[in-house]
Structure formats: C-alpha cells, structure tokens
Symmetry: C2
Subunit: 215 residues, 2 copies
C-alpha cells in the first residue's frame, strides 16, 4: 500500500487560482483572497490555523480530508515566497510564521541551493534543485505509506500533471470570475485522461474530485 | 412575470466549449465531440433528436429543463454555420437539417442581412444585423413570458455576460482537458457577480447552475 500523489486547490469559475499582480503584500493577487472565502469561515480551517469560532458545513469533511493523510509536501518556490533569483540571505522563512500549517517535510522546488530550514510544529523546508521527479522521490520516501501533497502553485501542478505523476486531485470551484491571473489548467496537451470521482456542493463552492487515468 | 435570459453549455475542465481547428466537417473542433458524450446516450436527448433508445440518469431532468420553457433563441453566426463574410446565396440553412431542434424563433447575430428562413417544426431563423441588444429585444418579444435561450457560441455568451444581460446559466462541466480551442469564460472583467444555485452530479459530468447578481 503506497500513498497517493494528490493536490487540492481553489479555482475561480474562469480557471484562475490567483488574481493578477501578485506581490509580497498580496500573494494571491488582486481579488485572490475572495477565492478562499468559503474556507476562512470554517471551524475546521480556523482550528488548524490557531483561531477559534467558525462554522461546520459540507466543506468541513473536505478540509479535514485535505489536512490529514499526507506525510510530505512539494511546493514551488513562488509558493514558498516572493523572492526570485538566488537567495540573498536566510531571512525569508515562508509566508506562514514560525509554525507553518504543514507539520511534515516540505520539499521546495528551486534552482538555487539553500540549507534545510527546521520550523516549529514538525515542518521542515528542504530545497530541491534537481527537478520535479527528484523532489517527488524524496517526498515519497519521507511520506512512507501516506500521501504526497503537491501544494502548488499552478505551474508546479501543471508540471506534475504533464509528467503523469498525479493520482488524484480536487478542485474547489468558486462562483467568481477573476478575469485575469494565474490559470491552473493550461500548458497541458489534452491527452491526460480524467475520471470524475466525487462532487460535493457546499456554500459558495463546489468540490470536484478527479482521478487521473491512462487512456 | 417575465422569462429569464439564460444559457446552458458544456465545458471542459480546462474551460473550453470546443476544440481547436473547427471546420464544416468538424464543427466542435478536435476533441470537441467528446465534450458531449454525457449527452448523446441520454433517452431525453435522443428522443428530441428523433432517435430511439438511451438511458435515464441524473442528467435527464437537466436536459428536459434545458429543452423546455424557452420561447426564443439567440445565437451567433458561427453557431448557425461555417460561412464567413457576406452570404453567397441562400443555400446554407443551418447544421440541423430541415427540422432544427429549437421549434421557436431563432435570432442569428450577423453583420450581413438575409431574409428570414422558415424551417419545419416551428423553427424560423431571423438574421439580426443591429447588435446583441436589438436581438435580445426581438427575442424577448417573441418569447413572451417564456425564457430566452442564448445558444452560443462562446463569443456571443461573453458579450451578453459583459453587458449584464444574462440572468442565469448552467455549465455542464466534463472531466476532459482539451488543451486548446474556444474558451467560454474570457474577455470578462471580473466584476460580474455570481451566485451558486444548484449542483447536480451525473455520470461523466457535473451540472453547475449560477445566477448573475449585482455586486
């Protein structure tokens, strides 16, 4: 029994996972925060981010499933931070403060070497410079029988989809038109086979789960 | 009580309503027929297109609702046929044979005048050269208290959405990546407010209904 490679991401109805003009002040771009409105009010999400209150609704089991069952994470460098090019120093330690919400090893894809970064709560960032397959191999090894979560962003997800390395994914589709930004499903050649696995209707979002199949 | 202005269209998970390289032989483009696989096997669809057999499943009420309740149709010229520029003669009478599946007046948006075309079964094609608002006004008048159906294609739907003239729409989202073709939701500025109304999970498709709201 080996874990799955999966991702889970919120997408606007017109296909964007972040709005235009991303910056350090606005990492999700213009309008991008509205993508996650369905999430921020949930008790399940607030609890795992150290906040009280919140509601329980059909999105709750979706978030609980997403936040459990994985043993390692892979993410792109732009998801880790806004710095481009070589690391100037070691001061940037991610968007998430001293205790990031991952609590597992996180493999950050980058072209620039950097030493591992141990955070509180079990998260350790490892910087991988030899490509998506090497990063996945290390993540699989760290995850053992648990899943590997491809955290994003869009470009990293596209690369893993194109390489046929994703087993399953979930898109949380929100009734929002962003008009511009970073598209999730592009640069894909149309030969990737998908199977619809499960659909969950919830307030202000529909969670769609798909399996990748050979065809 | 006035009818709604609505559209209903099948879209790939990556946002396309037809594949690349549309032609007279292949009006939905490469891979575009696969978009409608969920539909062609349905008894409800086969019956309204003069064919026997077929299955009943959760898509059935969706198709029945789509095919009833409207009193007029608006479509773009490219949806009516493959001819571009002035009409050379009157020989092109649509893709659908002598008895098109609309059974109401159909207003075709074009820059080139042409006399109305009465078909069997109650469909009459009218060619409208003075823009989307004029076409909608004529369609509303013909529909009376029934709905006006914006049949497509993508560009026409975008124009009506951008002009805030759509009340409600349904996207039948299929687990397919086309990679290229005609995108439904682009050229839109992101200020259109949407409300998720209903979600229906069915074999090989998810039907998502949204309402357009001011915000």
């Amino acid at each position: 029994m080996i874990g799955k490679v999966r991702f889970s991401i919120t997408m606007s109805l017109d296909g964007f996972v972040s709005g235009p003009n991303q910056s350090e002040q606005n990492p999700l771009g213009m309008g991008g925060m509205a993508l996650h409105e369905w999430l921020f009010g949930l008790e399940a999400w607030r609890k795992s981010h150290g906040e009280g209150g919140g509601v329980v609704n059909p999105s709750t089991p979706v978030v609980e499933e997403l936040e459990s069952g994985y043993g390692a994470v892979v993410m792109g460098r732009n998801m880790f931070g806004p710095i481009r090019g070589p690391w100037k120093d070691e001061s940037w330690r991610g968007w998430w403060g001293s205790d990031p919400p991952y609590h597992t090893p996180v493999f950050v894809l980058t072209h620039h070497e950097r030493g591992s970064l141990q955070m509180e709560g079990g998260t350790t960032f490892h910087f991988v410079t030899d490509g998506i397959e090497a990063a996945l191999a290390r993540a699989r090894s760290a995850a053992g029988q648990r899943d590997v979560l491809i955290a994003g962003g869009a470009s990293v997800i596209q690369q893993y989809l194109a390489a046929r390395l994703v087993d399953e994914f979930q898109i949380s589709l929100v009734p929002l038109l962003l008009g511009d930004g970073e598209r999730l499903l592009e640069n894909l050649d149309g030969s990737i086979g998908l199977e619809q696995v499960e659909v969950i209707e919830a307030p202000r979002v529909t969670h769609l789960k798909y399996r990748c199949i050979d065809r």
